[in-house]
Structure formats: C-alpha cells, structure tokens
C-alpha cells in the first residue's frame, strides 16, 4: 500500500458534469465529480443503477453514447486532458493506454470471429511502429492466453466464442484488455454475469495481473462485497454525485455518509436461518413436495439429465431456497413444479395433491394456488398494459368476479404490495424496477395463490430495492401464510430469506437442510466451495465482530 501512496497521480478528474438528453427530458448523470487515481491503484465505484458510476467509467474511456453531453470539467490522464482530443486521437489512446473489461462476457466478443483473431486484433490496431509477423502475433496471443490461465491455449486460438464458457470468455477479454499493458483499466461490472465460483477465479486473475503490471483500475460494481474484496479505495456514488471516497478499511469501519451506512447494513445483514427455523409444522402437509423429479433431454448418446432424481419438500408458511450456479437445473426444477415442463420421472405434489400428470383444466386449477414470479420484471410485464390491467388479467382469464369486484381486488392487491392506488393507471414502463416487481407479485397473488415460485425474482434489482422486496415478501408470508420456493444464485439473499435450503449442482441436489445448518455447517464439499467463493470476506469479518 505504501508504494501506491507515494505513486504519482495518473488520472485526475475535476468538476466533470455529464447530461443525458436535452431540454425537459435531460438528466444530469454526473454532477461535478472529482476523483483521482494513482498509478497502480485499484478503486471501486459502487452504487445502484442510475448512480452515474457507468457514465463516469464510459466518460473516461470516451465511450459515452451519443445522447450524452459533457457539460464541463476535465479528465486528465497523466496531465493530458482527454476531453480535448479528437475522435481519431482517442482511438490511439483506447486499447493502448486505457483498456476496458466489459460487463457481459457472453456478448462482448464478436460471435463470428475466432478467439485468436480477436486477441491479436489489439496488436494489429496498435502496431506501435512495427508490424508484427503472423508468427510473432501468434506467440503474443499464446503468451496472453496463458497469462490469464486459459487451458489448452493452442486449441483456443481457432475456437469461436460460443465454444467457450462464460468464465473463459471473460478471461479472453481480460487478456485483450491487458495486451498492451495500459496504464488504466476500466472494469464495468466484469463479473456480475458470472457464477460465484467462476467470479472468484476470474477476479483473482484480474487483480493479480493489475498488481503485477502496476495497472490502475476503476472497478465499477453494484456489489459492495466484491468491491471490498479487491479494491484499495471505495467511491460510493448516488444520483450522479460522490457520497464518500475513502480507503476500504476506513469506509467499512467508520462510514460517514448515511447512504453508505445503508448499503453496508444491507450487505452485512444476517440471515433468518440464524434467528428462527420458521413455524413448527413438520406434520402439516407440505406446500410443495417433489419425489425423484427427473428431466432428461436428448436421447441415445446425447442424453443428459438436466434434473436428476431431486426430492425435497417446502413446509407451509416457510421459504425453501434452491441455490446453484447456471446449468445446475434449478430453474428446470421450478418449471416442472409449475407444470410448464413435463417431468421425465418423479412426482410433484402441491398441497398434498399429486399434480404430476394433470393437464388442461387441472393445470388451470393448479395455477390458482401456485404462481410464478419471474426474474426480469421488465420483460414479464406487458409494456402496453396499465398496472391495473396487468393485475386483473388473471382474474379475467379465470372469469372471477364482476368488473367492479375485480377493481376492488386490484386495489386490495396494490395495497398488499405497498403500491399507492394512483399507480393503477400507469403503464409498466413508467415504474421503477422495484415497483414493477411489486406489480408482478400482486399479479401472482391475484387469484389467491398460497404458494409462489420466485425464480431469481430479486436478481435484477439494486441492493436497497432488493431489501424492500425481501421485507414485502416476509410481510406477505406472515400475514397471508404464503409458502415460497425461492430460486437464486445469490447466497447472500438466500441466507436472509430462507428457512430451508437445497443446493443443486449439475442436476442433482447435493445438500438439503435448514438454512442455519447449510450455511453454518455445510456437509457437502460443493456447498463449502460455494460459500468460500462468496465475495465479501472483509465484510463478513466485520459483521462477525
């Protein structure tokens, strides 16, 4: 750390203001921002969506969208104001002096070009005075791929992005970013699309390279846990302003800003598993019970089980969480329980009734008591419908009540999910993400469902919004005796909401038990690995103190 303290200032941003749009619809995304980075320093920009953190990051590397306008300020890179440069001059700086690691590795490589050509492209774009031969390029690319820990690099050169896993793609992108050893790297949520175990290894590779090469990094993230794990300093942003800018340890131990304190409280909030095991009711009929549930795709040699012999039960009035990484089969299990997908084997019982083979009218009856809340509220609500129409649609489909009765029911439901009644006439587009998810929950409850399947229902939301929806779900559970099957990859959220937890891996349930036991004393190796990979080491140390 002392080496960084004495290092020269690399990046110096002063009074930077950025506006999106013009006239009445303009929004100030960055409001007189001041921030400085020393050579080799890793700074995390933390904030919720709309806080301006991505705008700031994009401004530094000169990739603001056309609708954005810089109102004032300077961005000095080693004493040279980037805002004074022409587009052509910036092209020479990007990739060579400032690099970028993008958010979504899945879509960040050109799908129709080989991995090798996309890595070597950086050298072809910046020949730096000498043209490299094909053999030289190949050697450079191989060296880089090895540097970021990609196995069988020779073979990868000719592969296309779709042949690589998400983690490998992000490693390729890291290799591209580090290729010319830039002084500054912008990493925009580089691991938020990755599974937690993959996230950990990718972060390790990334920070190790940055430290070794003395690269300064601006690491944009919504995840305070990740930020505290890798950064020297944390900058908390909200509404286009910087709330707090201090070294990690200081900000963790003595946050000064009220907003920072809120974020920290959420990030360190402990689970309910630790407090209670939920209502005692082992003899009661389970809300959901599955036995030997199996789904097989393909046949013959290509046959593989997406879900393999999974059995568990959700006790009424409690929350059961299925945790696992992408491809573990947790969503497939949920869809079979919802009877949106035919199981290959096994039984599904809802409130004691075997629904494995119901069809037609039987399925419609099932969906009165069992409803789904989907991951992305943006696409789960028809953008052309008003809120009241969205919520009353299931009532219309099931021909429940008169027009007036339905209107009353919508008002009740809006009230239950804490939305003001004036929102009934708004369109889904006019709502925030959290409000949309409340509407989706209200819709799921419209027919009086007692059991909800929540498939990554909080994943698309900001931390503080997540906390509000979590509180709402808990209230509804207590007041209406709801049972939840909660599907998630986010261990932190799962720990908070669950009474019982099932851990899935490659289609099988590797561990089931009360949340306190699974998190406190995991029995399977895989659960231990998941817990160890969970970011926020520093945060947990602090919370346990």
């Amino acid at each position: 750390m002392s080496t960084i303290d004495s290092a020269p200032t690399l990046l110096d941003i002063r009074g930077l203001s950025i506006q999106y749009g013009t006239g009445d619809e303009s929004v100030i995304a960055a409001d007189h921002l001041d921030i400085a980075l020393k050579t080799g320093e890793i700074v995390a920009l933390v904030g919720e969506s709309g806080s301006g953190k991505s705008t700031l990051a994009k401004a530094i590397i000169g990739l603001l969208p056309e609708s954005a306008k810089v109102l004032g300020g300077t961005i000095d890179l080693a004493g040279d104001n980037l805002l004074n440069h022409s587009a052509k001059e910036l092209e020479a700086i990007r990739g060579r002096r400032i690099g970028m690691v993008p958010q979504d590795p899945g879509a960040s490589l050109d799908p129709v070009k080989t991995v090798g050509s996309q890595v070597s492209e950086v050298f072809r774009l910046h020949p730096q005075g000498r043209k490299r031969t094909k053999a030289e390029l190949r050697r450079e690319v191989l060296r880089l791929l090895e540097l970021v820990g990609i196995d069988r690099p020779e073979q990868r050169l000719g592969q296309y992005p779709h042949e690589l896993s998400g983690g490998l793609k992000q490693r390729v992108l890291i290799a591209i970013a580090f290729a010319l050893e830039p002084e500054l790297l912008i990493a925009d949520e580089p691991t938020s699309a990755l599974d937690v175990t993959v996230q950990q290894t990718v972060l390790e590779v990334f920070t190790k390279l940055a430290r070794e090469l003395g690269t300064a990094v601006i690491f944009v993230t919504h995840d305070l846990a990740v930020a505290t794990d890798i950064a020297d300093r944390i900058v908390v942003m909200q509404h286009g302003r910087i709330r707090e800018d201090r070294p990690v340890r200081e900000i963790l131990h003595a946050p000064e800003d009220a907003y920072t304190q809120m974020l920290l409280t959420e990030a360190t909030a402990t689970g309910k598993g630790a407090q209670t095991t939920g209502p005692e009711g082992a003899i009661e009929m389970p809300a959901i019970e599955v036995r030997g549930l199996t789904k097989i795709y393909g046949n013959g040699k290509a046959e593989r089980a997406a879900v393999d012999n999974v059995s568990f039960a959700v006790r009424p009035g409690t929350t059961f969480s299925l945790v696992g990484e992408s491809g573990s089969g947790k969503s497939t299990t949920a869809r079979m329980i919802m009877r949106l997908l035919e199981p290959s084997a096994g039984t599904v019982k809802i409130h004691g009734q075997d629904v494995t083979h119901v069809r037609g009218a039987g399925k419609r009856d099932l969906w009165r008591s069992l409803q789904l809340v989907y991951q992305n509220p943006d696409s789960a609500l028809d953008p052309r419908y008003s809120v009241s129409r969205i919520i009353s649609e299931p009532l219309e489909n099931y021909k429940v009540g008169s027009r007036n009765e339905r209107k009353i029911r919508v008002a009740e439901l809006l009230d239950a999910v804490n939305l003001p009644s004036r929102m009934a006439s708004l369109g889904a587009k006019e709502l925030s993400g959290g409000q949309r998810q409340r509407v989706a929950i209200a819709r799921a409850l419209a027919l009086g469902a007692k059991t909800l399947v929540l498939d990554e229902a909080l994943s698309a939301l900001d931390v503080l919004t997540q906390a509000q929806i979590l509180a709402l779900l808990e209230d509804l559970q207590v007041n209406q005796g709801l049972s939840y099957l909660f599907i998630s990859h986010d261990l932190h959220v799962v720990e908070r909401i669950s009474h019982d937890v099932g851990v899935m891996r490659q289609g099988t349930l590797v561990e089931v038990g009360p949340a306190s036991q699974v998190f406190g004393n995991p029995s399977s190796e895989y659960t231990k690995l998941l817990l160890d990979s969970n970011p926020g080491q520093l945060l947990r140390e602090m919370a346990n103190r």
């Binding site: 970028m100 050109d110 129709v112 290509a302």
Partner: protein
C-alpha cells in the same frame, strides 16, 4: 457439415418436385387439355388435327403416365415441346436464358454492391442530416416502379440526350442502363434489411469492446459489423430472385431486349401451356438453387449455425 449440406440439398430437390407436381396439377385443372386450349384460338381446328397433336405430344396418355413420363423427362433435361413452335421447350428457353441471366446476375451483383455502399455510408456518415437522407433512400427505391424508371431513363438518355440507342446495340450503355434500372429496385429490400441488421449489431456489447480496443468506425463496420449483419440480408437477397425475374421481364420489354421476358409474354398470349409449364419450372428451380446457395453460405458467415442446426438438443438449458 456433410449432414447439413445433404439435408439442404434434399430439401431443395423436394421443393422442385413439389413445384413440378403443383404445376402439373394446375394444368389438369384447366378446362381443357393444352392442345385443345392452344388450338382454340384457331376457329377451324378440326378434331383430327387435335387428336393427332395430342398423340404426338403425349397428352392422350392416362394422367399417371403423363405425370411420370414428364417427371422422367425433367431428369434428362426434356421439358416437352412448345406447342406454338414445335421446338423443344428446353431449346426455346435455352436460346434466350443467357441474355436474361446476364441481365439478372449483373443487376443482382450491382444491387448488393449498392446496398452495402449505401449502408456503409449511412453508418459512417458524420453528419446526422446526411445519415437521415441516406437511410430514406431504400424506401424511395422500392417505391419507384421498374418500368417508370426505365421509361424515364430511355426518354432522357435516348430521346433528349441521344447518348444511348433506343434498341440494344451492344454498347455499354445499352446493357448498363437496364442493369441499373433493375438493380435500383432490387437493392431496396436488401439495403433495408441490412440497415436494420447493422443497427442490431451496433446495439451489442462487443462493439463497445471493439471501440475500447481503439478500433475506428470503419474498422468496426467492415471487419466486424458487416459479417455479423450479413445473414438476414442474404436471406432477403435469396428471396429477391423472384423480384429479379419479374423485373427482368419488365426491363426486357421496356428496353426491347430479347430474353425470358419475351418468351413469357409470347407463351402466355399464345396460350402455349407446355412452354409456360417449362418457364414456371425453370423459375422455381432458379429460386431454389439460389436459396440453396444462400443456405450453404450461412455456416461460413456464422459458425454457430452448424452447432444449433444439426442437433435436436435444445440450444441452452435455462437454469
């Protein structure tokens, strides 16, 4: 790869066979047999002449035998005989097909070049007004009828300016102008689809990564965007073969060129059913072959197509 090619070729053959069957059935639905229809224009045709001609061209055979003998003929390149001239249909078509092929294929290549240039200049234009102007050209091109543009150019170049002959004389202008007229019309849908497709590519995160690498707008467009955006434009190009052939007929008529257009016109006015049948089949085959080529080119553009196309398994399991 081999399985993909085999399946596409199999599908192409199937389409041609279906086209033949449909045309054959359509002919049977006519109120009379082809010979009677052809000779009906001639008021004095006597029943003996009709019978003799029917026997000569095989129209007196039972339907099934006609169906299979004509089908077998196709494999030998025998499309039957034109009733009007008594020449083999294949010969009649072959004699003029070359001229149409030159017109259509030059127009097609010009149209594709047009479309790419148009989209490139729209994408790389610095000024917003210029970009808007270029983007609005394809709808205009699509709206201008081929015959109108042909007549206007003919009027202007031949009659007003006298730089081009009214009839084809083998000069550069006499081939370039018809090609241009046809190309403008055909380029419109290609350019429209390519523009849309290019827009979709620009919305993808990998373009930001390319910018962050320091790539210039033209580097991004020519080395990455175009290849990514090409597939939908190629699909539409394959479908424009229909427009191209229909446009050829009109262009040939306007510019008094010999070609398939003329033969189509003559065979329809003379009610020469056998010749029409042959023309329909040739057109269908051209359509199928071009689209087969497009299908076989896809995997060269996008390596993901083979992967998802040849296996029955779902692409990705949502988990």
């Amino acid at each position: 790869m081999a399985a993909y090619i085999a399946r596409r070729i199999g599908q192409a053959l199937l389409v041609i066979w279906l086209a033949y069957t449909l045309v054959f059935l359509a002919v049977q639905l006519l109120p009379n047999d082809p010979v009677t229809i052809f000779l009906s224009a001639d008021a004095a045709a006597n029943p003996e002449t009709i019978a003799a001609m029917k026997a000569q061209y095989g129209y007196d055979q039972p339907l099934l035998i006609q169906y299979f003998s004509q089908l077998a003929g196709l494999f030998r390149g025998d499309f039957g005989y034109s009733l009007a001239s008594g020449q083999p249909v294949a010969e009649r078509i072959g004699a003029v097909a070359g001229s149409t092929l030159v017109l259509a294929s030059s127009a097609f290549v010009t149209a594709v070049v047009f479309a790419v240039l148009l989209v490139a200049s729209a994408t790389l234009a610095r000024r917003t007004w210029l970009k808007r102007l270029i983007i609005n050209l394809p709808p205009l091109f699509a709206a201008v009828p081929v015959f109108w543009l042909g007549l206007v150019l003919l009027q202007l170049l031949s009659i007003q300016l006298g730089v081009m002959s009214l009839f084809p004389d083998g000069s550069f202008a006499s081939i370039a102008v018809p090609v241009l007229v046809l190309a403008v019309h055909v380029s419109a849908p290609i350019a429209q689809v390519l523009l849309k497709s290019v827009d979709n590519v620009y919305a993808q995160p990998f373009v930001d990564v390319l910018r962050a690498k320091g790539a210039s707008p033209s580097w991004i467009f020519f080395r990455h965007t175009l290849k990514n955006a090409a597939a939908p434009a190629m699909t539409i190009s394959g479908i424009t073969v229909g427009t191209l052939l229909a446009g050829s007929v009109i262009t040939e008529t306007v510019f008094a060129r010999s070609g398939l257009g003329q033969v189509v016109l003559q065979s329809v006015t003379a009610q020469d059913v056998a010749l029409v049948q042959g023309l329909v089949l040739i057109t269908a085959t051209a359509f199928v072959v071009v689209n087969l080529v497009v299908d076989l080119l896809y995997p060269l553009l996008d390596p993901r197509i083979l992967k998802s196309g040849t296996h029955g398994a779902p692409r990705a399991l949502v988990a």
